[in-house]
Symmetry: D2
Subunit: 288 residues, 4 copies
Amino acid sequence: MMKKSDTVAILLLSCADRPGLVSRISHFIYERGGNILDLDEHVDPVEKTFFIRVSWSTENFSIPPSELVEAFMPLAKEFNAIWKIRFTGRKTRIAIFVSRYDHCLQEILWRNSIGEFAIDIALIISNHPDLAPLAEHHGIPYHCFPVSSASKQEIELQERELLEKHSIDTIVLARYMQILSSQFVDRYPGQIINIHHSFLPAFVGSSPYRQAYERGVKIIGATSHYVTEELDQGPIIEQDIVRVSHKDTLDDLVRKGRDLERLVLAQALRLHSEHRILVNGKKTVVFD
Amino acid sequence: MMKKSDTVAILLLSCADRPGLVSRISHFIYERGGNILDLDEHVDPVEKTFFIRVSWSTENFSIPPSELVEAFMPLAKEFNAIWKIRFTGRKTRIAIFVSRYDHCLQEILWRNSIGEFAIDIALIISNHPDLAPLAEHHGIPYHCFPVSSASKQEIELQERELLEKHSIDTIVLARYMQILSSQFVDRYPGQIINIHHSFLPAFVGSSPYRQAYERGVKIIGATSHYVTEELDQGPIIEQDIVRVSHKDTLDDLVRKGRDLERLVLAQALRLHSEHRILVNGKKTVVFD
Amino acid sequence: MMKKSDTVAILLLSCADRPGLVSRISHFIYERGGNILDLDEHVDPVEKTFFIRVSWSTENFSIPPSELVEAFMPLAKEFNAIWKIRFTGRKTRIAIFVSRYDHCLQEILWRNSIGEFAIDIALIISNHPDLAPLAEHHGIPYHCFPVSSASKQEIELQERELLEKHSIDTIVLARYMQILSSQFVDRYPGQIINIHHSFLPAFVGSSPYRQAYERGVKIIGATSHYVTEELDQGPIIEQDIVRVSHKDTLDDLVRKGRDLERLVLAQALRLHSEHRILVNGKKTVVFD
Amino acid sequence: MMKKSDTVAILLLSCADRPGLVSRISHFIYERGGNILDLDEHVDPVEKTFFIRVSWSTENFSIPPSELVEAFMPLAKEFNAIWKIRFTGRKTRIAIFVSRYDHCLQEILWRNSIGEFAIDIALIISNHPDLAPLAEHHGIPYHCFPVSSASKQEIELQERELLEKHSIDTIVLARYMQILSSQFVDRYPGQIINIHHSFLPAFVGSSPYRQAYERGVKIIGATSHYVTEELDQGPIIEQDIVRVSHKDTLDDLVRKGRDLERLVLAQALRLHSEHRILVNGKKTVVFD
């Protein structure tokens, strides 16, 4: 864990593999006075794709943050890479979408309050008023947009305006019970994190606990994934499971699953906000 | 754990719930001199179904094993129960079906060799000769029936004859790569244990590791279930999972999954052979 | 899980084993109109001790709750049993002791707010004022007693008065950083639940995360136990663990451990408040 | 996972941190035609120590394996590093020490037989004849040295001769019930892998399952570590745990723990033989 006060630069990059990539990248950092703190590099032996996450101290770095992207651009172009650079000094700006269940929101707000996340929670958006008091307790603006099928399109526009206005990087769907339109989703590729209450791909769609109960599984799970156009099909970030038995009623599954949901979503948000995730087609590469 | 030498009677029973069931059953045991060692009873609060597993020492029991079923019959009829009585002195007789993979067979034979199971492994049946040396090392008869689509019906008849001849109670499919006919399956209801290499109901059918690899899941699993006519749809006995990451190739998934498969199948066989499982429609009740 | 509205009676009992115990107890319930919902009985094969937890619906029970203890007394005396009877209609009354860390308190208050526990949290006692706002948010009285070595004895007396006045059944030490005197502990045998931030018996005493960090363990744990006179030696209720690696600093251990602490303590409190725990000498019997 | 046929070089290195280490090392590899396949680097933020594991394909590498150590020496000296270089084409040569329990030996031999390990098991040494047939089944030479306190010193000399003669790199104590002398241990620093049947540091010394049973823990564990002079105090490689309950007798703990022991030891051996472990004082750095 980094000291909160440090400014650390983080590069996430993937491209077709070829010799010299690590050497070139690490030399780029070294010759500008950066000291690498953590580097994780991996070549997929089947696809021959190169993945790297490297973080370095910018204490003696000769390039200011504002010019780093431009400075790295030639190398990235040469590698034909998918890449981004982030700084720990610039926190990810988050909007949380909720409906009525409080457990995921509660978890994120509490963790944030004790400094676990490197995020700024700019606002909370809901289609119900229920969780406004919780938002208020944590001093986060709460916007309530009651959605109907008639109003959905119009409301999404208002929501998007709000998100733009607050320069939101990442949207967290903390058990938000509405399906976002594909226009909305397309605007935030790899930036919308959802929590689904099953071990995907089992039990997609609605009522996964009921589906699990009726199938008689001995473990239930939760899955956090990036949202794409196809429901519950986006790249998986994190999953976890818990054992259940014949003594567990549907209510018990909901109770046990609640703990999974909030922990898995919190972990996914932590990984995302620490810039540990590269989306690679339908999958993620998680550097943890 | 019981001392191996004891003879213990075990009753598994389910019926519609009504007052007095535990009292009647425990009194039946008590008045005949049995001492209850372990009793687990549960009423499903939704279906109002009563489930019980009770084991008792027959050291001073007034009814010999051979007459117990008849003695208990009136009570069972009054309750309109599904039930069975077993004795630890009478080991479950097992046939193991295998193909080429040795890990599940190896695991079961080794565990049996150190006394972990209350089973007699009467024979091993395979559609390949590969595992004959392993069977021989453990002194278990090995029957090889190379199956083709043309010969399948005829071979199943030969296999069933063999199973009858050896008074087989339970068939373990230890990564047996053939699908049994429904006639075969119907003959052994709740007596054929399979291991499927995924956390069902995710990834039914063939190549579940490839399916898991392509979906990019962060956990893979294995599921042991009773075989029914529908492929991979039978009542689930036991499941377990292991974490995987983007660094794991398909071969790594196979390697990690292999450990799950053999442990989950062994655990399912242990539960089954200790008479800890009641099949309840499409689910199991597992008294562990 | 029981419907919250039902009144269910729960008997926890242990005694030396002998034939007929289940029969006698279940008959006692049956002949008074009780319908058993869940019964778990076990005989320790080494110590020959009998343990039972049985719950029954009192819907048609002929004895009112206020007279049940007296009615069962003769049987209990005959068995020379350790026992108690509880009713789901009578919630366990809880006092929570905290210092400065909020995670365990936060977890318990939140779970209680969504109805997960069958408890009444009557008051919170602390040696610091820090968590008063959290208590206030949940509407629970908060009493601050700054403890010094000089004032300790006097303050414990005041605390005990407060506990008596509120008819407290159970005290939860939610990361309370003071050691209670043996007089205090003796007054609440099997009624004080602590959370220790290691997998006991490893790392007793102070700074367990530092101890774990310095030893280089690959898993860390948390343990909830009943408090006895000997520090960290009381009967263990629940434990859980999480993996750590060389990349985890001491701060990371604290962060990961925090999740364990609150989940393990919450689980212990749930088991305790649902009357699922029998203390058996230096161990617990947990019927889950 | 690498294809078995490839020859891959692996560098493990630690030294005091300073800027440029990754750049220098990766450039060394690149300019000689190596293509990095996997690189994991980490700086301990407290001790300011640099740790790296890097593997590269030597397909087009200009330096033959036999000259690589010498070629890298100047860099290593400049960094004042602790380091080693290994090649996947040169398998680790293993001696396994056993006593009477077969489970760990069985596990290692079986995994090796299906190609899971990059090792050559050169010989098995035991103080009992019991496991000779198992060794024979796998075609591994078995040497029986019945140890007494009188003969111990003399026998260790014979054993060491045998180990030298077979150029043994690594010794696996697969539940070997003798304590090796410090002279013996000193000869193989970071090369003797032991399995201890508890989650260390809980329950050091003898009868850990009995200690766990008597303490009433809810989880038991197993720990694989490098052997040092102090009993059970060496750097921990891998640990795992399993849940137990009041229903588990001491025999059940032994049975459940057996599964842990063999899996944890096998995992430790895999990590060691793939050169994924750096010993760092009293701890290990595991690159997995």
